[in-house]
């Protein structure tokens, strides 16, 4: 090989390849912005991006669209399923992006509103004479606005509670679901089954933070956290809830065999959103999960003998039993929309039409989000679903607050929790103080 030429070739490859590292070049997209005064009788096509992906869910959305078209034949809706928030925001900045956008992540509402990626709905709400306070429960109104700007409306909600295997409860001599965290731990220990070699056969519960919905935010909700103080700063260290929750979680993990043993068992779990879900597969006796699991069980594991209840609360807060973590689907108009008035008509239909809300909620087993729908939902007669409706209505139920940089503060807290459960945090108090400092720094960085 000719050496100088070879060196030039190698150098050229080096430059070309390193250039590829810089493929993050960006150019701003232009939005639509037709506003609330657009003629709604115009024949238009709007694009609706949503996160539902299962066949039954996508069919339910398409049925809703067909129903909408009976009253709005001039508005054609093109729905795109399985869109997560990354794709959504990338689409919003494009001039050919979606008109109607929805997200399952209420944490990101702050980012959607503050960036202007989701437009302010106030002019549309006013023009259509909608009174949000008389239409939607307060909890849902809180997680669909940020610092007074309403850029989303609630489109069904999720409430978290406890699923328990009744057959395993009976076999272990347990007569009712636990109400306090100490009962929860005692029951989990009783329900745990081991193989001859000492490995776990059935876990009482999977209490590590990668145990699907057993996330720090979902568990911490039982302690009633605030996350942010009156000064706007993160208060995980200065309030007792996070430390209490983490201390309890570590005790629970130790009681069930320790972190490594549980993680090894967890590695054998099937996919969360499938029939191989560990609760449905009989690998865990109890599971923290959302109300939507009732639909999956009915479809994939109809013979499973199970019950549902609110998740237990700390012993010193026993009077708050019935609370749980709340979140939901939020829906709004993208900045990229060229047909905002038509988009609003569709959103208004999806979020406020009682029949639409109830039929969709009943199909995908989500909590309806209007007072009228809550009063008339057929799901109230479902013994498995009813506890989730109660959790949703409980005034002590709570959600994670919206923030300027979306769920970044949750990721920071979550990573700390992973380190904690793995035994890599020597001092909990100072560790949480470090988390607060990082969250405040990240929030400052997100400000323009």
């Amino acid at each position: 090989m000719h050496r100088p030429r070879f060196r030039r070739l190698t150098a050229s490859i080096a430059v070309a390849a390193t250039a590829a590292l810089l493929a993050t070049s960006c150019a701003g997209g232009s939005g639509g912005g037709t506003g609330a005064d657009e003629d709604i009788n115009k024949k238009v096509t709007i694009k609706f991006w949503h996160g539902w992906s299962q066949e039954s869910e996508v069919k339910a959305i398409n049925d809703l669209i067909a129903k909408f078209n009976t009253t709005h034949p001039n508005i054609k809706v093109e729905a795109t399923p399985n869109v997560n928030d990354d794709k959504l925001t990338q689409g919003v900045r494009s001039s050919k992006g979606p008109d109607v956008v929805s997200s399952f992540t209420t944490d990101n509402v702050g980012q959607f509103c503050s960036s202007g990626g989701w437009v302010d709905l106030a002019p549309f709400v006013t023009k259509s004479g909608l009174d949000p306070a008389k239409t939607f429960p307060k909890a849902t109104l809180d997680y669909t606005q940020f610092q007074g700007k309403r850029c989303a409306l609630p489109f069904l909600a999720d409430a978290y509670g406890l699923y328990y295997n009744k057959d395993m409860f009976t076999a272990a001599g347990i007569t009712s679901p636990p109400k306090t965290m100490s009962e929860f731990k005692a029951d989990a220990v009783k329900l745990q089954q081991l193989n001859a070699d000492g490995s776990i056969k059935v876990a009482g519960v999977m209490p590590t933070f990668h145990g699907y919905e057993f996330t720090p935010a979902h568990v911490l909700a039982q302690w009633g956290p605030t996350y942010v103080g009156a000064d706007g700063k993160s208060n995980l260290a200065s309030t007792p809830q996070a430390a209490q929750m983490l201390t309890y979680q570590k005790e629970l993990v130790e009681a069930l065999g320790g972190f490594e043993k549980l993680e090894k068992f967890r590695a054998g779990f099937g996919e969360e959103f499938s029939a191989q879900n560990p609760f449905q597969a009989g690998q865990v006796a109890m599971q923290l999960d959302g109300e939507w699991r009732t639909a999956s069980i009915a479809e994939d594991s109809p013979t499973l003998n199970y019950g549902t209840a609110p998740l237990p609360v700390p012993d010193d807060q026993a009077d708050s039993y019935g609370r749980g973590y709340l979140t939901g689907t939020v829906i709004g108009i993208a900045k990229s929309s060229h047909h905002q008035a038509a988009a609003w008509e569709f959103i208004k239909f999806l979020t406020t039409d009682t029949d639409a809300v109830n039929s969709f909620a009943a199909t995908i087993h989500n909590v309806p989000t209007t007072f009228a729908a809550l009063d008339s939902t057929p799901l109230a007669g479902d013994e498995h679903f009813k506890p989730f409706l109660e959790v949703f209505k409980n005034p002590a139920s709570n959600s994670t607050p919206a923030s300027l940089n979306g769920g970044k503060y949750q990721v920071t807290f979550q990573e700390f929790c992973y380190a904690w459960e793995a035994g890599r945090v020597p001092d909990l108090k100072s560790g949480l103080a470090g988390v607060d400092k990082q969250i405040d720094t990240d929030t400052a960085q997100a400000k323009p």
């Binding site: 590292l21 090894k264 590695a267 940089n405 979306g406």
Partner: protein, 333 residues
Amino acid sequence: MGRRADTTSAAAPPGRPAKVKAPPGLRALRRRRGARTVAFLSPWLIGFAVFFAYPLGATVYYSFTHYDLINPPQWVGLRNWRYVFEDYPPLGKALRNTLWLVAVMVPLRVLFGLGVGMIAVRLKRGASLFRTLCYLPFLAPPVAATIGFVFLLNPATGPVDQIMDTLHIPNVGWFNDPAWAKPALAMLAVWGIGDLMVIFIAALVDVPREQYEAASLDGAGPWQRFRYVTWPSITPVVLFALVTGVIQTMQYYTQAMVAGKVASGIIGAPGQSFEPGYPQGSTLTLPQLVYQEGFSSFDTGVACVLSLLLFGIAMLATVLLMRRRAGFMTAED
């Protein structure tokens, strides 16, 4: 003095040969030649400008701005740079992981590629089958290959750990254990060394046979034949493999991301927040951070700082390797 004297620059410094103005015909010819050269180079020049110069310039500019991809960028000076270097813990993790991958995975790939290439060259029978079998893994799509490895190395249900159990070898967590996740990724990389094997086979068959014969006549053993005949001939290819390996490792994204998602069980579906680098940041790499900041947190400024850092490290590593090429070259090179 004739015509030549008229064209001599009067300001020519003493001691230097005077510049001579070319006759008009020659100048026109040179212009035409220059224009033709530029015309021939234009595809490359356009590509360089569009795909390298502009992105590089834009990345530098955006690194000094607050830009969420929705609103116009706002100039914030060095804020993003200070944030990344002073207040951004994932950077240290990503740098350490990248360094580990460069120091372990790249040499391992080169060693295995060379070893397999040498075996393939020496095989008398079944060489084609051997080459095919060794090359096939390279054709597997990275996502599929990674999912396959996570399944094989699953500490609870994977066949590898079950075999280890049977042999009474202590189990490890592989992709679920921060101490073993990077070695597992290195195993995946070594499994797919088909590309390097082909390059090394080409280099090895290029070594003049007579040199081996001469060395044998001089009494050289296998190691001496490799050290004094094979190695000097293939060192440029080894250097090439190292340089491209380092650059590829700087861009390491897909396998680490997929392994983290599959092993953690959190695939980043709508409503789920996935943290790259599972478990416990042990597989976090700089490109994952660039994506995370740029397209999940929509902090373009920080993503651009990280991109420039990545670019700088890749360039530095390349320059160092090129400077150290003397160690790979023989005297006559």
